[in-house]
């Protein structure tokens, strides 16, 4: 196993390199560049000025020079400066990462904690009223577009009832400190978290239910059912463990999104996160920021995959890695 781990970690390096090359190439191919963002279409900016901006950003250099320059800087720890705001990329990302981790992380944990039990109960109480109610609710949850729900929630809870805030991470009118500040942030988190978790909880609970059902339908379970209560319990626990395999996949795939954030939710709720930063950077062809966010995401995926594969082996002893 340790040989496998070492090999995977070693392989991660060329993988990350390829991803960085690909992303860089994609930014190149896409029309437009960061200097154009300084154009004001309302007033007809002087093209000579844009050229000067281009020079000042180093965009007149050929792409391989810029790539190698980026690589060298990044490997020595310097993430460069954002083309749009001229602030260090490390600050731009660093300021927003905690906000995204908070929102997406809490949603992920909440979804996991709620979805697994719902799925298990549904599977065990199959074809009862409880199962139908839970399954239908879950189906409804994954069928509604989240931005549709989000705006309805805002309309009802923030505007009509005034119970929860419609936007932002904190109340700027009062400057709270200490635990009041944390409570304030928590309050601002409620609607976005509900929005993010809704679809996840619904989807995951269905997966859990179907995975558990599949395992329960297998021969050794039927044998145990015939044999008696205690054997059955032991095997149920075993079945549960096996049913977690697809769940592990789902979570493994979701971990990177905790870091990259949920753009749509962050925009609707004006949550200052990485999701918005990434999209704004792509729109503005701000490649230092794009590269930083992409490499962060890639790193998280490598780690997430590795953890998922290790978890497979732990959960299903039939899977072996050499």
């Amino acid at each position: 196993m340790s040989r496998y781990l070492a090999r995977r970690l070693l392989q991660a390096i060329p993988l990350l390199l390829v991803i960085s090359l690909l992303t860089f190439a994609i930014i190149e191919i896409a029309p437009g560049d960061a200097a154009q963002m300084y154009i004001d279409p309302n007033k007809g900016t002087d093209p000579a000025y844009i050229e000067r901006v281009r020079l000042s950003l180093g965009l007149e250099q050929p792409v391989y020079v810029r790539y190698l320059g980026w690589l060298k800087e990044t490997l020595s720890g310097d993430l460069g400066f954002s083309f749009r705001t001229r602030r260090p990329v490390a600050l731009e990302v660093g300021d927003r990462l905690p906000n995204t981790l908070l929102l997406s992380g809490v949603s992920l944990i909440l979804s996991f904690v709620i979805a697994i039990p719902i799925g298990v109960i549904s599977a065990l109480k199959r074809y009862t009223l409880l199962d139908y109610v839970l399954s239908t609710a879950a189906l409804a949850g994954i069928s509604v577009p989240i931005f549709w729900v989000a705006l309805l929630l805002i309309q009802v809870f923030a505007i009509q009832l005034g119970w929860l805030p419609a936007s932002g991470m904190s109340n700027v009118r009062e400057s709270y400190t200490g635990w009041l500040a944390n409570l304030d942030i928590l309050r601002h988190m409620i609607l976005p978290t509900v929005t993010l978790s809704l679809a996840q909880i619904a989807g995951w609970s269905r997966y859990q239910r179907s995975a558990l059902l599949e395992v329960l339908g297998q021969d050794y379970i039927r044998t145990a059912q015939g044999k008696g209560l205690r054997e059955r319990r032991v095997l149920l626990v075993h079945a549960l463990r096996n049913s977690l395999i697809p769940m592990v996949t789902l979570i493994g795939v979701s971990v990177p999104t905790v870091v990259t954030g949920a753009f749509l939710t962050e925009t609707i709720f004006s949550w200052p996160g990485i999701g918005r930063l990434g999209v704004d950077a792509v729109t503005g062809r701000d490649y230092p920021v794009i590269m930083a966010v992409t490499m962060l995401s890639a790193l998280m995926i490598v780690v997430g995959n590795l953890l998922a594969d290790i978890a497979y082996a732990w959960v299903d002893p039939r899977i072996r890695y050499e």
Partner: protein, 537 residues
């Protein structure tokens, strides 16, 4: 003795009255003080330095903090008025402007404001390395203007030839010399920590969330009534409308979103104010189909511009009768005859120009060329998305094979705004321009040559623009630009669709009468220091 004293007091009052009538920035006494005003910005500002603040996000913050010598320039209103310069004299030959700077003005760090700061600012603007947008404002006939510091409170600008627009050009925010180590201002710490003279000063920038400003109690125009202003980043007009309703934003301009929740609602006040912008269809005048002015005249006749105003701007707009915005000194109401909406007449005009549906496919053609029209626009701009379907519908009904092409920002820049080739990848585009203030010479950028967005090159028009640059007599100058207007109105390289009327929505707890809502300032307020809350929030 008493009578004399009374008389002199009365005379003194009149004198003081007279002086302050000229200079309306005399101190204002606040009926109420305190409170935090929350306004809206679209996102993080690229820069907090007045020298680089040339985009909506930055100006939403810096307009509260910075001040130029005189108002009336690009982002500073539509009238030339004193600001940091209290008054100015122009020499007889029109070449020397002597500015008498306001005395006793302090920077937000306590240092005094002097003519050295003005000199430093202009020098920094002129330096190539700093890549400041207004460099061209300070250049005349290829050479930089000459500046002279006469004394701490007197500053001179010497021109090489007479330029009637010079005061507009000099309306650039002034930065303090002592905040910089050299004239290289590009990456200075000042850009994230500005020191300013205006009514509000910088406190904190929470990335991704907001910028916080507090009142400058030593402001020369009188201490502001409010304690703080917070510019909150919320993007998308619908999200802003939601925030307004939820009380998370106090004052914002709502363009093109449903205003019903705010109308007839005692919690909100709505004010309309005209904006110095024009929404238009710009044509590629070299296009094979719309390159013919007759076709363009047919298209404007076949466009229901009132319907566009009603749908895209909730009725808040006026149909233009000039290619110049109303705030321009060249604008003359009634100068041109309007093109009223008449689809039948439009079809006739197209037929007269030789376009018929000879192959029966529902679209007009001429000499084998089908009347195709590729209309591009910036897809992220919701207003354009509201205008486009009506344009599509109206012109399709005339037999034009029109296709809509929303572009993302960067592609829009590459194809339209940063495209200096004469071979444009579109037949027409939807856009807008303005915010030029009173001076009409800026419009030249669009009509002067075939590398512009319109690929338009009309020697008569270019010659007139040249004349206008040089003419000093205001009446003669206006006459020249009016000739430009007449020519362009006939040729129609653009179809002016409407001039928007900005609708500002704010909580009724706020009193903005003295603050003066003015759409020509990006923040929407001319004197933010005079805004106050009538009740605590």
């Amino acid at each position: 003795m008493r009578k004399f004293a009374l008389l002199s007091v009365l005379i003194l009052m009149f004198v003081v009255q007279g002086a302050s009538a000229q200079d309306s920035t005399a101190a204002f006494s606040c009926p109420q003080t305190g409170g935090t005003l929350i306004v809206q910005g679209e996102g993080d500002p690229p820069s907090l330095s007045g020298l680089y603040a040339n985009d909506g996000n930055s100006l939403a913050v810096t307009t509260f903090m910075d001040e130029p010598l005189v108002l009336g320039g690009e982002n500073w209103g539509d009238k030339i008025e004193p600001a940091l310069a209290e008054s100015w004299d122009i020499s007889a030959d029109g070449l020397t402007y002597t500015f008498h700077l306001r005395q006793g003005v302090k920077w937000s760090d306590g240092q005094p404001f002097t003519a050295d700061d003005v000199l430093f600012t202009f020098q920094a603007v002129l330096e190539d390395d700093n890549t400041i947008d207004w460099k061209n404002n300070l250049i005349q006939d290829g050479k930089p203007l000459t500046f002279k510091v006469v004394d701490d409170n007197t500053f001179q600008v010497i021109l090489t030839s007479v330029n009637p627009a010079i005061l507009n050009n000099l309306s650039i925010p002034i930065v303090p010399k002592h905040a910089f180590t050299s004239t290289s201002v590009k990456d200075a710490p000042y850009n994230t920590n500005p020191i300013t003279t205006g009514p509000f000063k910088f406190v904190k920038w929470e990335t991704g969330q907001d910028v916080q400003l507090e009142a400058n109690k030593d402001y020369w125009g009188g201490a502001p009534c409010l304690d703080r202003i917070v510019v909150r980043f919320i993007s998308g007009v619908d999200n802003v409308a939601n925030a307004l309703q939820a009380g998370e934003v106090d004052f914002a301009r709502i363009d093109g979103a449903d205003l019903t929740p705010f109308q007839n609602n005692p919690d909100f006040t709505l004010t309309q104010t005209p904006r110095d912008l024009m929404r238009l269809v710009g044509f590629n005048t070299k296009s094979k189909t719309v390159g013919d002015p007759a076709v363009r005249r047919a298209l404007i006749t076949g466009l229901d511009r009132q319907a566009i105003i009603d749908t895209a701007a909730a009725g808040n707009g006026t149909i233009p009768d000039s290619v110049f915005n109303k705030s321009s000194s060249a604008y003359q109401a009634g100068l041109n005859t309007q093109y009223p909406y008449d689809p039948d007449q439009a079809k006739k005009l197209l037929a007269d120009a030789g376009w018929k549906d000879s192959d029966g496919n529902g679209f007009l053609d001429k000499d084998g060329q089908e009347l195709t029209l590729k209309l591009v626009y910036s897809g992220s701009f919701a207003l354009m998305g509201s205008i486009a379907p009506i344009v599509y519908d109206n012109w399709k009904a005339l037999g034009v094979n029109i296709t809509l092409n929303p572009l993302d920002d960067a592609t829009a820049n590459t194809d339209i705004y940063d495209n200096t080739s004469t071979d444009k990848p579109y037949d027409a585009f939807l856009s807008g321009w303005g915010l030029f203030g009173t001076d009409p010479s800026h419009y030249r950028t669009f009509y002067a040559d075939d590398t512009s967005y319109l690929a338009y090159n009309n020697p008569d028009v270019t010659a007139l623009f040249d004349q206008g640059d040089k003419e000093t007599d205001p009446a003669k100058r206006t006459a020249i630009y009016q000739q430009v207007d007449k020519l362009l109105w006939q040729d129609l390289p653009i179809i002016p669709i409407f001039q928007p009327i900005g609708v500002y929505v704010y909580t009724s707890k706020l009193n903005l009468d003295a603050a003066e809502i003015n759409g020509t300032f990006l923040t929407g307020l001319k004197y933010p220091g005079r805004a106050y809350f009538t009740q605590a929030q």
